[in-house]
């Protein structure tokens, strides 16, 4: 059983506090929670909303219809009432008006003044909402105490009670589950993965929707003993990170498409100087400023080919908050193993949606640095770019080995790092760098397959469409449709094993992506010759839900 709630209002109305509190309370009550944000690029006014889906089974996507709305302003009612089910409920303050019978007006502001804390008015709404779903407000104090001081907790609790008393139960949902989940969004998962993966320096320039990775790390930097530096621009951000990595610490930077554009020359520097680095690109629609607070998967072509000439690089599209954590740790290890740039692709939808998931298992992860010792490098001049069988040169940390100096260089260089334009050297160095591509190919992970054993319809997706595809395949399979989906995480170099297996046997291949041209489909055609028969593409800055994909498959594919 799953229900859908929308909390809407203007920026600055306290909507974020209300929705966060509601999610935490539902989680505390043992429900699975999935909440995604839809907001405008402004600090005050406009129309913003959060959709909170909760239930007794795991949830991986938002949903088009609504069971309840908490409206903090008139436009929330006007914009979303057509999505409200017939037996749904709208909760709003007495100053908002609607003829609709589903509206329940409660004097939130007036009652909050009685509690002598006008800021708890939202908790009155939450109390009422919980009652509507038949959920008790017992044992929720710990949620409040985690967030507020004692007095404010008490005031909020009183507000919950007042709201709870005002209305009658309308739905009935109960969870028998213990609350043993964490609730986390994609950007927090990347940031936590960064700390767990040994990131010691993070330099970045704020850019929506990537900023919250930096904000999280910045908040924790003293406790974690790391440094987070707001660089003067994205060019500085990547070059500082490269300098820190060259000098011996795990470094990372993050941005969105516009900032990534500025970092592109730095990616080439990292490649030729063979400096490990992880770069996060949290995508939003472009070109240029585009839609700053909206979602897209529009940078795949761009990041794969970013920076001039050929060099080995890896691109990982993270699929959900669980995957984002583990892949960030893996990216950090692979960057050092192969001395390459690993790009993590996320997007606004995944960056901002909260999901209840199992706590991360720290026994599953390790930090592997692949550094060389004095014995490995031998006597004489240290050759930073020494020719080796597999193309990986022994890497040492500058200043840690007496009389050995490390020369990092952006020109074509010889084994030591001195500029060398000779034909022999150029060919040998290109071959050395490119050798690592075949090593990388043996390292990449195949896409995740979900669905029936022999699908007639094969959906192809990557990154954040994972959750929506999971739900869509389940809905369609329930109707005995022979369907499956391959969802790519590692996307460059492109893993092709599963694709050949399922692609050969299915009748219809459909790519599902958030961009105009079908960038994954084009990449697959380029790498394997497989052509998609149909496409489900969305490029309006909003995410396809599981239901959206289900409907499109029924209407356009079957």
């Amino acid at each position: 059983m799953k229900y859908n709630i929308l909390v809407g209002g203007a920026a600055g109305q306290g909507m974020s506090t209300i929705s966060t509190l509601l999610q935490k309370v539902l989680k505390r009550k043992g429900f699975y929670v999935f909440a995604n944000k839809d907001y405008m690029s402004r600090v005050r006014g406009g129309h913003n909303f959060v959709q909170i889906r909760f239930g007794t089974t795991p949830i991986t996507s938002h949903h088009p219809t609504l069971d309840a709305i908490i409206a903090l302003d008139q436009s929330t009612i006007d914009n979303h009432i057509n999505r409200l089910n017939n037996n749904g409920i709208i909760i709003c303050d007495t100053d908002l008006n609607s003829e609709d019978k589903r509206v329940i007006q409660i004097p939130m502001r007036k009652l909050s003044r009685e509690i002598k804390n006008p800021r708890v008015f939202g908790s009155i709404g939450i109390g009422a909402l919980l009652k509507i779903f038949g959920i008790s407000i017992d044992n929720i104090e710990p949620v409040l105490r985690k967030r507020f001081d004692k007095n404010t907790s008490q005031a909020n609790l009183e507000a919950f009670k007042k709201g709870h008393e005002l209305v009658e139960s309308h739905f009935n949902i109960n969870s028998n589950n213990e609350d043993n989940h964490i609730i986390i969004n994609g950007n927090q998962a990347i940031a936590l993965g960064a700390i767990a993966g040994g990131v010691t320096f993070y330099s970045a320039y704020p850019m929506t929707p990537s900023t919250s990775v930096m904000t999280y790390l910045s908040k924790k930097q003293q406790e974690a003993g790391i440094l987070v530096e707001q660089a003067e621009d994205e060019i500085a951000a990547i070059n500082m990170a490269l300098g820190a990595s060259y000098a011996g610490i795990r470094s990372m930077t993050g941005t969105s498409g516009g900032g990534f554009s500025l970092m592109v020359e730095g990616i080439g520097l990292g490649a030729v100087a063979e400096i490990p680095l992880v770069i996060v690109n949290v995508q939003r629609p472009g070109p240029a400023t585009g839609l700053p607070t909206r979602t897209a998967q529009c940078d795949l072509d761009f990041v794969i080919s970013a920076s001039q000439d050929d060099f080995p690089k890896m691109v990982i599209a993270v699929r959900n908050p669980e995957d984002a954590f583990y892949q960030t740790v893996r990216a950090l290890n692979l960057a050092e193993k192969y001395q390459i740039q690993v790009i993590i692709l996320s997007d606004q939808y995944l960056a901002d949606y909260n999901q209840t998931i199992k706590p991360y298992n720290f026994d599953e992860i390790s930090i592997d640095r692949y550094l060389s010792s004095k014995d490995d490098i031998g006597e004489g001049f240290y050759k930073r770019y020494k020719f080796t069988e597999n193309g990986i040169s022994p890497r040492i940390i500058p200043s840690t080995i007496e009389s050995k100096t490390v020369l990092g260089d952006s020109h074509e260089h010889n084994e030591i790092g001195f500029v060398d334009e000779s034909i022999e050297n150029r060919i040998a160095m290109m071959n050395k760098r490119m050798k690592r591509i075949s090593l990388l190919k043996s390292e990449i992970q195949e896409p995740e397959y979900i669905g029936v054993e022999n699908p007639e319809i094969l959906l192809l997706g990557w990154g954040s469409t994972h959750g929506s595809l999971l739900e869509a395949v389940e809905l369609l399979a329930n109707e005995s449709i022979k369907i499956g989906a391959l969802i790519f995480g590692d996307i460059w170099p492109l893993p092709t094993g599963q694709l050949e297996y399922y692609g050969t046997n299915s009748k219809t291949i459909v790519n599902v992506e958030h961009n105009f041209t079908g960038q994954l489909a084009n990449l697959i055609a380029q790498e394997t010759g497989f052509k998609c028969d149909k496409s489900i593409l969305r490029y309006d800055g909003r995410q396809l839900s599981g239901t959206d994909i289900y409907n499109k498959v029924k209407k356009e594919v079957l």
Binding site: L192, S203, N239, A273, S366, I397
Partner: protein
């Protein structure tokens, strides 16, 4: 005490023109390193792109020869990673004052403890003679055929106005003065900008060795570099007389000193990494 200057000799082939002012800078740099009793593996020389930016290849020390205009950010990253490294940036006027101007502004603000040598030859050498930010107005170049239209950039006045904690000028043909300035800059805690007058014998036929020699003079012994107003006046001297020496100083905490988690701990390169250290951060998501 001094280390053997030969330790800093590089095996790289050199591609500067005979008579280039850069040779004087490299020699002064090695002299300073030796007199400061340093060893090559404890020094990092970072640069961008240009003739001056080839310096990391021509001195034996750790080197980072990065992108045009981007000599400073990797140097800053390296200093953050290893606060014990002695970090030098060597780059030209185009690299430091043109393409990479933004980094200069903000690292002066950070007061990160690095020494930035600007080989200021008032012209673009590597790309064969175009105007640089410090080329004189009206100076005809291989690109500005009618002469440079823009006003000259005054690095000394600029740095003083930002409160750069060490601002000096020297002359590449005066090795002793220059090595003293480099030593003073490296001994200074904070951002040290040293603008070095450096003749380009191939592309700048105006600002020649003679042009500079006719104008430079040592700053008086009783000059007080802590006086910002006096320093600003000094920064305005150029056409007839050019002061060399320490022009401005300010004592203030360095970037590293402002950040407790770096200041109070061993260099970050020695930090013990363990994924389990992050388990505690999962609590708030519960």
């Amino acid at each position: 005490m001094a280390t053997d200057i030969k330790l800093f000799e590089s095996k790289s082939e050199n591609s500067w023109c005979p008579g280039c002012g850069n040779f004087g800078i490299v020699n002064a740099l090695k002299k300073a390193f030796s007199e400061l009793d340093l060893l090559p593996h404890n020094i990092l020389i970072a640069s961008g792109i240009g003739q001056a930016a080839k310096t990391p290849h021509y001195v034996n020390a750790n080197g980072f020869n990065g992108l045009h205009g981007r000599g400073i950010p990797p140097a800053v990253g390296a200093k953050i990673a290893n606060k014990d490294l002695r970090v030098i940036v060597t780059s030209g006027d185009g690299d430091s004052y043109g393409e990479g101007g933004n980094h200069l502004i903000h690292n002066i603000r950070r007061n990160i403890d690095i020494t930035h040598l600007v080989h200021n030859n008032q012209i673009y050498g590597l790309t064969k003679g175009q105007g640089s930010p410090t080329t004189g107005k009206g100076h005809k170049t291989s690109m500005q055929f009618e002469g440079v239209y823009a006003d000259e950039f005054n690095p000394i006045a600029f740095a003083i106005s930002l409160g750069c904690s060490f601002v000096a000028r020297s002359f590449s043909a005066d090795k002793d003065h220059l090595s003293e300035m480099i030593k003073a800059g490296m001994e200074h805690n904070g951002y040290a900008l040293i603008d070095i007058l450096q003749p380009c014998v191939t592309f700048n036929k105006i600002n020649t060795y003679k042009w500079y020699k006719d104008r430079v003079y040592y700053i008086e012994d009783d000059y007080n570099p802590y006086d910002k107003v006096e320093a600003f006046k000094k920064s305005q001297e150029w056409e007839n007389k050019i002061p060399i020496g320490v022009i401005y100083k300010e004592d203030k905490p360095t970037f590293i000193d402002r950040i407790p988690q770096i200041k109070d701990n061993p260099p970050l390169i020695n930090k013990k990494l363990d994924p389990k250290n992050a388990i505690k951060f999962m609590e708030e998501f519960k």
